[in-house]
């Protein structure tokens, strides 16, 4: 049934959307493709599993998970981005990939390569609306994703920090000239990106009840595709792209089987790139709301 596929696809898409927002936000403001994002996604997912297994209460897991994402992202800023301010732009890109591999291997050493299952009593609670089965954790996830983007868009549009970030996006030297302490503001970009990534990792772990040290890689490709489909640097575009990919993926599984998933998703990516090279909401800079 079509409606049900859309509902399921939106839930899946919200995870991609959050990762895409993290990617697109750092690109829009700092012109930096941060490959540590899938690593942070995976570490938060694994940490969620480990904490729940150790009996930590879910609200505390959520808070600690978000803090972990922010902290790891801040670490990447200190070690990679700050250190390579004056290098060519591919230097931080490669550096952030090194962080992805580092995160993966640290998790492999600690927990091994197995797929880990989460036992969550509430994970299968659902409600029925107009004949559609809607999982409650999934709805909460979707609402959280949209709410987080809405909050970020409001910060970008209405606050002093947002104006400063949009000025940095257009020209860092102009921002400095106007009194923005660019070196102090840049870490906030990483912290925001880290929080979005961690939220995605938490949602994935809770909704799909399984995590592995390699869960970042597929989500990275889908997240980057979502960003491109939506339009680079555009946070609403990232949400749109993520949800579209989620729906296409779910529909492809149902109607054509699991093998068709990647053909559907990446075929769509190529089609959109061909007809709208700037993406669906194509613009620039992270501020477009």
């Amino acid at each position: 049934m079509f409606g049900q596929q859309v509902v399921n696809g939106l839930m899946l898409g919200s995870v991609y959307a959050l990762v895409a927002v993290a990617f697109t936000f750092t690109i829009g403001i700092l012109n930096f493709l941060n490959f540590s994002i899938p690593g942070i996604f995976m570490v938060t997912g694994m940490a969620t599993w480990a904490m729940l297994k150790a009996g930590v209460a879910l609200p505390i897991v959520v808070v600690l998970g978000l803090a972990l994402g922010a902290a790891l992202s801040f670490l990447v800023e200190r070690f990679i981005f700050r250190a390579s301010t004056h290098s060519d732009h591919y230097v931080p890109l490669v550096g952030s990939m090194a962080f992805l591999i580092l995160f993966e291997n640290l998790v492999l050493i600690r927990w091994g390569s197995d797929l880990q299952r989460l036992e969550l009593p509430f994970a299968d609670t659902s409600m029925r609306i107009a004949g559609l089965v809607i999982g409650i954790p999934q709805v909460i996830g979707l609402l959280l994703a949209v709410g987080a983007v809405w909050a970020l868009a409001a910060i970008m549009r209405r606050t002093r920090l947002g104006r400063g970030l949009r000025t940095i996006a257009e020209n860092p030297e102009t921002a400095t000239l106007l009194g923005v302490r660019v070196g102090r503001v840049v870490p906030t970009v990483f912290i925001i990106g880290g929080v979005f990534t961690a939220l995605a990792g938490l949602l994935f772990a809770v909704n799909y009840q399984q995590v592995s040290p390699f869960m970042g890689e597929e989500v990275a490709l889908k997240g980057i595709s979502a960003m491109v489909i939506g339009g680079m640097g555009n946070i609403w575009g990232a949400i749109l792209g993520g949800l579209v990919i989620g729906v296409v993926e779910t529909a492809a599984i149902t109607w054509f089987g699991a093998r068709a998933v990647d053909i559907g998703v990446y075929g769509l990516l190529l089609l959109i790139l061909f007809f709208r090279p700037t993406g669906l909401l194509g613009g620039h800079a992270g501020e477009r709301a």
Partner: protein
């Protein structure tokens, strides 16, 4: 002295853009810096606001050694630069650009009021306040840049070739406005190619050539000296 630049040198790799230049501005004064393209005028102002680091020399502002201050610190202490080419943020609205001028300020009530005054003085900006700055004409962009600078509440405003690219009528209006804001007690350090206009409002002027200050004096003294024209045309009148 409000601003006292002493023996300043700026290098870009092997290029010496400013060599041992000393320039000062008193409270409330209008001082002009003249010179041909490439003389080092912009580099002097960029060093004064902290966008480039001098290789030697000192920058004193209101009695404090500001040489190592960040740009944000200089702004907070009352020094502002309206840069060459205006550097308006085109992806921000007119009003957001003005708010960026007040980035370090916390007295938002007063900021709102001052923005209102700017809109009254330049109704074109007021009418377009919620449009992207990219819709503005050259003259409007320059007024926006000056308004943005004024919103930092400076004691000294440095302006780098504000008349560049403006029609004679707009240049007229620009200089009238500069005199107006100077009357409020704001000191101006004005870099200009438009020598006559600049000397018309300045009480003193410096002439730069190949990074050095080669002449200084009152407008009367400079206009009487034929080395001014030589330096302005860049034909090497050696001091």
């Amino acid at each position: 002295m409000l601003l006292d630049i002493q023996g300043l040198s700026v290098r870009y790799g092997r290029i010496a853009a400013v060599r041992d230049a000393s320039v000062n501005v008193a409270e409330g004064e209008v001082v002009a810096v003249l010179g041909a393209n490439g003389a080092g005028k912009s580099s002097l102002l960029k060093a004064a606001i902290g966008l480039v680091t001098p290789n030697s020399g000192h920058i004193l502002f209101a009695g404090s050694d500001a040489t190592r201050w960040s740009t944000a610190q200089r702004l907070a202490n009352g020094l502002v630069l309206v840069p060459e080419g205006r550097r308006i943020v085109m992806s921000l609205t007119v009003e957001e650009n003005l708010l960026m001028g007040a980035y370090a300020r916390r007295d938002l009530e007063a900021v709102r009021k001052e923005i209102g005054v700017i809109y009254e003085r330049f109704p074109n900006l007021g009418e377009r306040r919620h449009m992207l700055a990219s819709v503005l004409s050259g003259g409007e962009l320059q007024m926006l840049a000056i308004g943005r600078g004024a919103l930092a509440r400076p004691r000294l405003m440095m302006l780098d070739e504000p008349s560049l690219g403006l029609s004679p009528r707009l240049v007229q209006e620009l200089f009238r406005h500069l005199v107006e804001i100077n009357r409020t007690g704001l000191a101006l350090l004005l870099v200009e190619q438009n020598t006559r206009k600049a000397l018309g409002i300045a009480s003193r002027a410096y002439v730069m050539e190949l990074g050095r200050v080669v002449m200084s004096g009152t407008p009367g003294e400079l206009l009487a000296d034929d080395r001014l024209e030589a330096a302005y045309l860049g034909t090497g009148a050696k001091a």
